[in-house]
Point group: C2
């Protein structure tokens, strides 16, 4: 039978997994809101981010409480400290999805993204959601092997990010400055989101193995 | 006489203060590199960021070690956990200064920023350096009052950031897309840098008072 202490450790893991699900869903919806100029979905993402923030606050409170009351050492200490870092990354991923939704809201009823760039943004969104979802599975299964194998998705996001700049710079199209600003910021948000997802997965490797 | 434990806690504080100095200087130099198209200074900022990363790694190692060996409670526990968060913010500030220097390097021998926007960028840089420097003093003096009074600088950075977009959108100038991309990214880097500086200062309030 698990004691209360380990139940609380488990509950921290469960919260992290719940957060990955929420930020994956937030990015998925933010991408839809952006490309379909869907104000209602954008608003939902913007207000829904509170839930991620609340989970982070609750997780951090429980983790600090465990540190103070149980004075864990070695593996458990590493788990708790790493969980605090993961929750910071996940909260930031929620913020970035919210930022994307805010651009969608700002340009409504237009889409902030020109039609010919939709496919790239959709793919960046898909990869981001995939990274967040995999990260949840990685935490759930303490899957060090899978955590080490996220480079492909991460590289794909970086490549799409670079392609976005090349597309914006095509002189024959002559994008308006407003579009250049919006797409530059949006691209950056997706790229940072993917970075944080990979960072959460890498922290899992440290949590399990103690190797940086 | 201070015991070894408290000496180590003090050394963590000293490292945080050292980091604020390094990232302040990095931003100062990155701004110069950007506005004067100074390749040598840009390279210096880019390679110098390693030092910030190394300090963070050293600090985090010592903090985790203290957590494991000393099993601190209450105020000391809060100090250590908060220091880990501050070091993460400070490392990120170093990254952002490096990002700015990389844009400077990319556009050399031109400046990435059109002449008429230099003043805004210079002011964002000045405010960022001021925020980082004040944050160092705040940590040194455990100055809760000063930490609560950074809103003015932070608001000024946000306002300059918004003005930058308005300036880019002036139709009579018709900025090239490349300039719009560069200035959008640069503006974002300065804004995030200031956010992290304020975040470090706010964490100091928590460290001292336990209030969020």
């Amino acid at each position: 039978m698990r004691d209360l202490y380990h139940e609380e450790l488990d509950s921290i893991g469960a919260t992290l997994i719940e957060m990955t699900g929420l930020v994956a869903s937030a990015l998925d919806q933010a991408t839809d809101a952006l490309l379909n100029a869907d104000l209602q979905t954008a608003e939902k993402v913007i207000s829904g981010d509170e839930q991620v923030d609340a989970l982070r606050e609750s997780l951090d409170g429980r983790a600090l409480d465990l540190l103070a009351r149980q004075q864990p050492v070695a593996g458990d200490l590493r788990t708790i400290v790493t969980s605090l870092r993961m929750s910071a990354d996940l909260e930031r991923m929620g913020d970035l999805a919210r930022h994307i939704a805010k651009v969608a809201r700002l340009r409504y009823p237009e889409s902030a993204v020109p039609a010919e760039l939709h496919e790239s943004i959709r793919e960046m969104g898909r990869l981001g959601v995939e990274l967040a979802t995999k990260t949840g599975q990685i935490i759930e299964g303490l899957d060090v092997e899978a955590a080490r194998n996220l480079d492909e998705e991460d590289d794909a996001v970086d490549q799409l990010h670079r392609q976005l700049f090349s597309a914006l710079l095509q002189e024959d199209i002559g994008y308006p400055v407003e579009t250049a600003i919006d797409v530059t910021l949006i691209g950056r948000y997706y790229e940072r989101y993917a970075d944080h997802a990979v960072s959460v997965a890498r922290r899992l490797v440290f949590l399990v193995t103690g190797e940086n």
